[in-house]
Subunit: 412 residues, 2 copies
Amino acid sequence: MPARTSSPSCGRRAAMSESLAQRAAALDAADELAGARKLFALDEAVYLDGNSLGALPAHVPDRVADVVNRQWGQLRIRSWTEGDWWSAPERIGDRIAPLVGAAPGQIVVGDSTSVNVFKAVVGAVRLNDDPARTDILVDATTFPTDGYIASSAARMTGRRIVPVDPADLTSALGPTTAAALVNHVDYRSGRLHDLPGLTAAVHEAGALAVWDLCHSAGALPVGLDAHGVDLAVGCTYKYLNGGPGSPAYLYVAERHQASFDSPLPGWTSHADPFAMTPGYEAADGSTRGRVGTPDILSMLALEAALEVWDGIAIETVRAKSLALTDFFLECVDAYVPAGRVTSLTPAEHASRGSQVALRCEDAPRVMETLTARGVVGDLRRPDVLRFGFTPLYVGFADTERAARVLAEVLAG
Amino acid sequence: MPARTSSPSCGRRAAMSESLAQRAAALDAADELAGARKLFALDEAVYLDGNSLGALPAHVPDRVADVVNRQWGQLRIRSWTEGDWWSAPERIGDRIAPLVGAAPGQIVVGDSTSVNVFKAVVGAVRLNDDPARTDILVDATTFPTDGYIASSAARMTGRRIVPVDPADLTSALGPTTAAALVNHVDYRSGRLHDLPGLTAAVHEAGALAVWDLCHSAGALPVGLDAHGVDLAVGCTYKYLNGGPGSPAYLYVAERHQASFDSPLPGWTSHADPFAMTPGYEAADGSTRGRVGTPDILSMLALEAALEVWDGIAIETVRAKSLALTDFFLECVDAYVPAGRVTSLTPAEHASRGSQVALRCEDAPRVMETLTARGVVGDLRRPDVLRFGFTPLYVGFADTERAARVLAEVLAG
C-alpha cells in the first residue's frame, strides 16, 4: 500500500465535508438537468455505473408491456405490416442521430456493437478498395472486442491489424493504411480522444476513420457529420439507457452509403425484402446496414428510453458531466488520503470522458464494500475502480457522498 | 382462373361441413395437446401464422415485466453478476436442445438467423480447411437470406456459391464441395427435406452439412445429434414463440467445437471475457459461438416462452401437426371448388413440414379478406397463401373453420 503522504485530521475532514456538501447543494440547486432524474426509476443508492448499464427510464415498463401484450399478443403478425415494427431500425437510428451530430438517414439500429464493428471495418476496407492499403490501425487501448473483431475483418479482407496507442496514431498513418478504428472514450481510463483531429489525420493519409462511440454517445457531443467521420458504431445500453444488451447502431456517412458493401447482407437490407428473390440487391441509405429480422422487444424498449432526451441538448449534458467529474476529483482529493488511489482520468477537460477511473491496490474489496454501502461503480480487473457520471440522473450531492463513502471504505 | 371441374351443390356442401365439423370435434376431444392452448394469449381468430410469428405465451408478460422492473430497474448492474443474465445464451440454448435432438452444450442463443448463418457457413469452410473444396452448395429454393449471407461467406473465404435444388443436392456433391447449406423445411412450399439422408450424402462427399431449422424447430423432430449434423442455425420466433425478432441460435456439434473458428469472435466468446486482454482466446464449448453482449430483454422473454414446452414431446407435436395438415387439405378438398387453388405442400408425410401452401391467382385479395374474417395466414408474393399449423394452439375445429372460410372467400 502506498505510504500516506498526508492525511487530513478528523476535525479538518468534517469541516471539508460540510463545505463540499454545501457546495454540492448549491450546484444541485443551479443544475438545469436536475429535473431529468425523476424520469428514471432510482432508489437511494448512488448509481455510478450508467457507463456500463444505464438506469431504467420510468416510463419504459409500460411501453414494453404494450409491445408484449397488445402488439405481439393481440395484433400478432399484423404489427409487422400495420404497426411500427418494420421501420424501427431506421426510425430509432434517426432518434439517436442528433445526440451524435448526425443528420437523419445515416444511422441504423440492430445487432450488437461487435457485429457492427465487423460491418464497419469490412465496409471501410471495401470503400477504400486499394490493395496497397494493407493496414487496419486499431486502438490498442480500447475495449478488446474491437480488436478481436477487427482482426477477423482483416483476416477476411486480406489485410492486417496494426495495434496503436491513439496517442501515436497520427505518426502510424501512412500510404499503407486502409482504415483506423478508434474508441472515442477509452472504457478503462475514461480518456477522450481527439475525434476531429484524428479523423482529419486519417483522411490526410487517404484512409477511412471508424469510431466506436460506446462510451461517448449520450455523454458528450460527437459531431459525426461536422468532423467528416466515415463510419461509426456504438451501443445503446450505457448513456442511452436502452436496457441490458439493447441493440447497437451503425453510422455510414451519406457520401459512402451508395458504395457501402456490407459483409452481412441479410434479407432485411435488401432493396425489396419481401420479393424474396434469389439475387441480392442492396437497399439505399442506412437500411443497407441492416441484417436479419429486427429484435422488436429490445428495440422498442430502446425507442421508449430515448424519449428522456426530448428537449435536452447534448452540450448541456457535457457541461454537467465535466462539472460532476471535476467535483468528484476534488472531493476525492479532499477526502482520500494522498497516494491511496491514483486517478487514471485526464485532468484536462478536452481529454476526459464522463467517467473517473481510480487505480487502487485493493480495488476488488473496495468496490464490493462500496456497492454494499450504496455507492455503485464497477471494477475493471485487476485494480481499477470505475465511476460513471450520467448527468441525467446523477447529482452533485450524490457525487460528494460517493467520494465520502469511498474515503471511509479506503480507510477501513 | 382455372375452370371449375366440379363444384359441390349447396346441400351436399352443408352435409360435408357438418360431417367435417363433427370429425373436428372428435379429433379435438382426443387431442392430447389440446390443453396447451390455454397457455397462450389467443382470441377468437384462427391464427395460422405461427410459422411467421408464434403467439404470445400467456405468462410471458409478467416475466418480461420482472426483467424490466426488478432485474434492470432495481438490481441494475448487479443482474449481470448476481442474476442469471450472463449465462443466458448457453442456458437457453440447452433449453432448445431437446426440441432439436441435441445434447446439452452445443447450442448458443444470440444474434439473428442471418448472423448465425454467416458464423455457420464460414465455420464449416474453416472446419473443412481444404482449398481444393471451393464450393458451398446452397439450397436455391430456400429463404433468400441464407443465399445472400452464404454468398458473403463464400466471397470472404475464397469459395464460391453453387445454388442447387435440394432434390438435386446429392448429385451436385463432389470433391470440390466444402459445405452444403439446406433449409430443413422450405419457407414457401412447406416441403420437408431429408435431413438424415442428405447429411449422410454430404459426409460421404467429405463435406460439412449446415442446416437451417427456422421452419422445423418446434414443429417436428430434427435429430441433430442422431443424424450427425455438423452445424445448424434457427430462429426462435416461429414455432418456439419467442417473440418478434427474438434471438436466433447456433448449433456446433461437440466434435467440431474445439476447431470451430468463428468469423465474429466478439468479447463474450473469449475464454476469460472480463480479463479484457488484447489477445483473443476462444472459449470452449458453445460459448465460442457468442459475439457481443447478450440482448437480455428479448432473450429472457424467449426463455420464459420456452416453458410451454415442459413435458411436451416433439414427437407428439409432429403427430398432431401431420393430422392437422392432413385434415386441412381434406377440408380444402371438400369445400373449395377444384382447380381454384393448387397445393404446393407435399402430400406424403415424409416431405411435409407444418404448413400448407396454396397457390391462388388472386392470393393478395384472398389473404386480406381471410384475415378480416378472422382466419390469419400470410401471403408470399405473388400468389402463395401460407397456413402454418402450430400444434400447441391450433385445433381441428380451427382447421375446419379456416378451410370453410377460405372456400367462402374464394367463392366471393
